[in-house]
Every structure is written in structure tokens, then in C-alpha cells.
Symmetry: C2
Subunit: 330 residues, 2 copies
């Protein structure tokens, strides 16, 4: 068992001191880290807490967990159109197991290095496993992709193939089955989500509203509608799905794509005149994007914003979908 200070030093602090501190004026080893955004930009800040049994299984590969803990935070920066700068890590551990820490920190830093996102500070304590990361990015304030900027007439877009992570959860839980190759793909989507940072940056000045899909497309799009005080018409059949997901039962496909969680794809709106620009941005970022519907005016000032679902033929669908809510059974 390592003591707290040698534990931090061995796996985290030393790493932060050796040539990787350049965004921050002062990093680990003082009471605070010091950081400033580049001239003309502001800091985008987001915090996410991951809990065993809720966000990951007790037997999760610690390398994958290190990846995912940072990935979900980078995804929030992506949704804001912010460039990653750094993060703080607070970690509660039942015991300081070297093997676990080595794999966890490797998964974490491999992703951090890819996005030039440095560890700036942290806290470690004994306790039930809990990972809390606060991430910092930079964005020119006028170009930030907010949730409240959708306008009637905007196209609604989504990146990637939402639903694969939920399909993976269902396989692990025994809710449905897939062959080994599909199951492995689903599990990769669940455990190693890819934050769409490059897409978020490419969409600056092109997209109007954006967010990342962490709690399911239906529930998350609802946040844009509420913030922007608009409605949406969404073609449920237009939401893209992976070849593996398309091999599951149709009702499972719909449940995964529309109400699955843990996707970390971007859902965003943009005016129809920007379609070529959106496609070009997606190409630059190397991420496929798909138009799935349209923003429409609210029915009246008092009505709660809502999604009207339709099928490929334009016929209305009656769907009752809820996003993942951490205080309800899923």
C-alpha cells in the first residue's frame, strides 16, 4: 500500500512535472494551479463524476476507465467548440493498488496526450471508487457552441452512429445478444468513447446550438429545445446506426439510437444554408454527420418544447422515450 503522497507522485504528479506543463503557469504541487486562456478567449469548464456500479462495472478494465473518465469531460469541451487545455483529477480509491493505478493512469494519459490536455492538479483520498475530473478548454466567447442558439428552420444533425454504447450495455446485461465481433464493437463504443473535439472545433462559426449526447439523443436534444425555446421534428429512421446495431431487433435499434446513453456524439443545429459547410467541417474532422430533422417554432409561448417524431415517410410516430436519469432505474 502506497501512502497518499508517494501514490500521487508516482502515477500523476511526476508525470505532470516532466515537460508537459505548458498551458498552466503553475501546476501540481502548490495549493492551486494557475491558468489563463489565450488572449481574446475564455475558459470553458466542465466537471463529471464517475461512480462504480453507476457509470462502470466493478470489473471494468482500468485502462478503459482512465480513458473514459477523461473522454466524457473532453466531450463537454467538444460540445462547446472549445480546445482542451488541462484538467484536474480527484480520485477516491478503496485501496492504492499499484497495478490498477498504472493501467488507469496509462489510459488517462494516452488520451490526454492525444489532445494536448495536461494534468494541472488533483486530490486523492481513500473511499468508495469515485473519479471526478474537471476539464478546462479555451474558446472565443462569441464562437462558443451553446445550447440556447437553435432557431426555427435549422437542420438538426448528429455525428457518428448513436446507440452502440447502449447496445453494448445491453449485451453485458444480457438484455439481448450479438455475435462476438458485434459484441466487441459495442463494448468498445461503451468503454472507449471518442470525444468529438475536432468536430466541435470545426463547427465553430457554422453550427448554432450543440451538445454532446451522454444521456440519449431524445433527452439531450430536449435540452437544446428547452434552452432555445423551440420544437423539433425528427425522422427516427434517419438517425444513423452501425451495421452491428442494424443486426439487432428493430425495437432494440430504436431504443438504443434514440434513448441510449453514453454515446458522446455531438447533436447540433445549423441553418440549411450551411449544409455544405457542415459537411466540409465533418470531413476535416474525419467524423460522419447526418441530418435527422428540423427545428420548428414553438406551438405557443406556454407550451413545453417537444420533439415530434416521424418515420422515413413523414408519418407521425408516437414514441415515449426518456433519457438516462441517474436517480431512476434505467
Amino acid at each position: 500500500m502506497l501512502s497518499e503522497f508517494s501514490l500521487i507522485d508516482r502515477f500523476f504528479a511526476r508525470r505532470a512535472r516532466t515537460g508537459h506543463v505548458h498551458h498552466a503557469a503553475l501546476g501540481i504541487g502548490d495549493d492551486c494551479a494557475l491558468i489563463a486562456p489565450p488572449a481574446g478567449e475564455v475558459l470553458a469548464v466542465s466537471t463529471d463524476m464517475l461512480v462504480e456500479g453507476r457509470h462502470f462495472f466493478p470489473d471494468v478494465d482500468p485502462h478503459a476507465l482512465g480513458h473514459k473518465a477523461l473522454a466524457v469531460n473532453l466531450s463537454d469541451l467538444a460540445a462547446m467548440g472549445a480546445r482542451p487545455l488541462g484538467f484536474t483529477l480527484a480520485l477516491a480509491l478503496p485501496a492504492a493498488r499499484e497495478e490498477w493505478l498504472e493501467a488507469f493512469s496509462a489510459g488517462l494519459f494516452e488520451l490526454a496526450d492525444r489532445f494536448d490536455c495536461e494534468l494541472m492538479g488533483g486530490d486523492t483520498t481513500a473511499g468508495p471508487l469515485n473519479i471526478c475530473i474537471t476539464v478546462f478548454g479555451a474558446v472565443p466567447p462569441q464562437r462558443a457552441l451553446r445550447r440556447d442558439a437553435a432557431q426555427p428552420g435549422d437542420d438538426v444533425w448528429v455525428s457518428g452512429t448513436p446507440g452502440d454504447a447502449r447496445a453494448g450495455l445491453g449485451v453485458l446485461r444480457g438484455e439481448w445478444r450479438a455475435d462476438d465481433a458485434d459484441a466487441a464493437m459495442f463494448r468498445h463504443a461503451l468503454e472507449r468513447p471518442e470525444p468529438r473535439v475536432a468536430l466541435g472545433l470545426a463547427l465553430r462559426g457554422i453550427a448554432r446550438a450543440a451538445l454532446d449526447v451522454s444521456d440519449g439523443l431524445a433527452g439531450d436534444l430536449q435540452h437544446i429545445l428547452e434552452s432555445s425555446r423551440v420544437n423539433a421534428v425528427i425522422d427516427a429512421d434517419a438517425v444513423p446506426r452501425s451495421a452491428a446495431l442494424a443486426r439487432l431487433a428493430p425495437d432494440v435499434q430504436r431504443r438504443c439510437t434514440l434513448a441510449g446513453g453514453d454515446d458522446y456524439e455531438l447533436c447540433f443545429t445549423a441553418p440549411p444554408g450551411a449544409r455544405d459547410a457542415v459537411d466540409a467541417a465533418a470531413q476535416r474532422a474525419g467524423v460522419p454527420v447526418t441530418r435527422i430533422g428540423t427545428i420548428v417554432p414553438p406551438e405557443n409561448a406556454d407550451a413545453a418544447p417537444a420533439i415530434a417524431w416521424c418515420d422515413a415517410a413523414g408519418n407521425p410516430l408516437s414514441l415515449t422515450l426518456h433519457g438516462f436519469d441517474h436517480f431512476h432505474a434505467d
Copy 2:
């Protein structure tokens, strides 16, 4: 049982939206909060995680817990000479009990309001009780109170009367006894520490090195010595103690003042020529400060920095003291 979103909205988000968002360009309700330091300043960032059974007892008054969770973070800003701007709150809760949340959020926001420190974002999840706050302050980078700036010849100072919080823990644990009035004072010190923000701000440009005493004076001063590569001679009898602490046994007094945790007083160094300025700063901040020793050169380049303890007569004391280490039994 409230759902996650109505829970956040009821106790936290709505509060952040009504007239209190002014440091941040964009607060709760988007993927990220946006924040920028004032011109010429940088952001000071610190994160602390509090775990049940480790940092507080299961039956702690939730109002006190809300206070303390933010206080320990504000204390890190104080130790940096930074002015509080805002914070993010990540909260894992076994269940969303309204009564608990009402008291916790009241304790949190009463302290936040006193320091004009706004809630900018957060995350809530089900899980074993865990509170992770990341706090943001502003400081001109050249005037930040760092740990690595102590110089031989500096006086070593401490604010307040360290040890009262540890005395309170001892009373709660039955390690020693105190009469009701003393026990209440100790418990107040343990549960409602006062972050020395005003003192940290007043010491800008006067103190050289500083930190807050969270893990015990001996262990924390050691961090300054290691960062600054110097030694210290400390008069153990000069460390001030409260009247209540002075009524406990002499060995308990020493244990509490020198190796107690959870004090959140500032320990700092300043050149002898700045004594009047330090006293004036302390007076402005309304916090007593006491000189307890001197920074001296390291014995040689290879020796580990160390504290030489002495008594009031200048006689060397042989003390074996350790700071509180979260992975060891206390």
C-alpha cells in the same frame, strides 16, 4: 425521490440562475461554464474531494458539511492569495433526500455568498456520498503566494490557533475529554473552518511562500521546505493555542497544534523587514498571526529539507510528527 434534473434544478441550478451569475459568461445549463480572469490576472484552480467516514462522520450536520466542502476549497485560494470567483460541484448521493439537500445547499451558499463565489456548473449522480468541488479564483500571477518562494532568513508565521479542529475530532472519538463549552468550540473549528481569504489577499506582495494547513502544521510546512529547498527552525512553544486547547494535557496540545489536521489556517514566510507589514495585513484581515520560527539554509544540496524543533528556551526538541495521510490510519 426527486429525479436528477429536478433535484439539481431545485437546489442548485435555479439558485445559480437568479442574479448570481456575474463572474461567469455562461453558467449552469450548458455543456460547459465559460469564465475568464480579469485583465492582467490568471485563474487559480483547486479541487478537493470529501468522502464520508474519511473527511466527515455519517451523522454530520448537512448544513455544516455544505459549509466545510466549500471552505476547504476557498482555503486553497486563500493560500494562493487569490480572490474567489466561482466553483463547480459534483455530488454523489445515495438518495436524493430533500431535507438533507436543503440544509447542505444552505450551508454551501451562505459561505459562497459571503465570498461572492458563484456556482458555475456541476454534476449529480447516485452513489456513496462524495462531494467534489473545484474552485476558481483570480490573482495577478507575479503576486501569487507560492510554496517555492521561501528564502533563508524569512520568518515563519501561522494564522489563528491551529489544533482546535484536531482537538474536536479527539473529543468526538473519545480520545480525550473537554467540558461542554470547550467541546462545542472545538467542534465548531472542526465542522465550520473559516477560510482565510481576506488574509491571503492582504498578504499579496508581503508574504513570500504560503500554504494552508490542512494536514497538520508539521507536514504542511514540510511542503514549503521541499518546494523552496530550505530548512526551518520552529519554536514548538511559540505555536499559539486557544484557551480551550491550553486546558488539555500538554502532550495532546502539542499533538493537536503541530500534527493536527483540518485547521485551514495559513502558514507563510516573510522577510524580517516585513514584520510591520504582516501585522498590518493581519489587522486589516481581522485574523491574528504569530511568528513561530525562521527559514534557514539547507545543510547541503543532497539533504532532505527538515524542520528543527526547539522549545521556548531554544533547546532542541526531538519530535516525531507526521501530517495526516489519507492512506494511513490517522
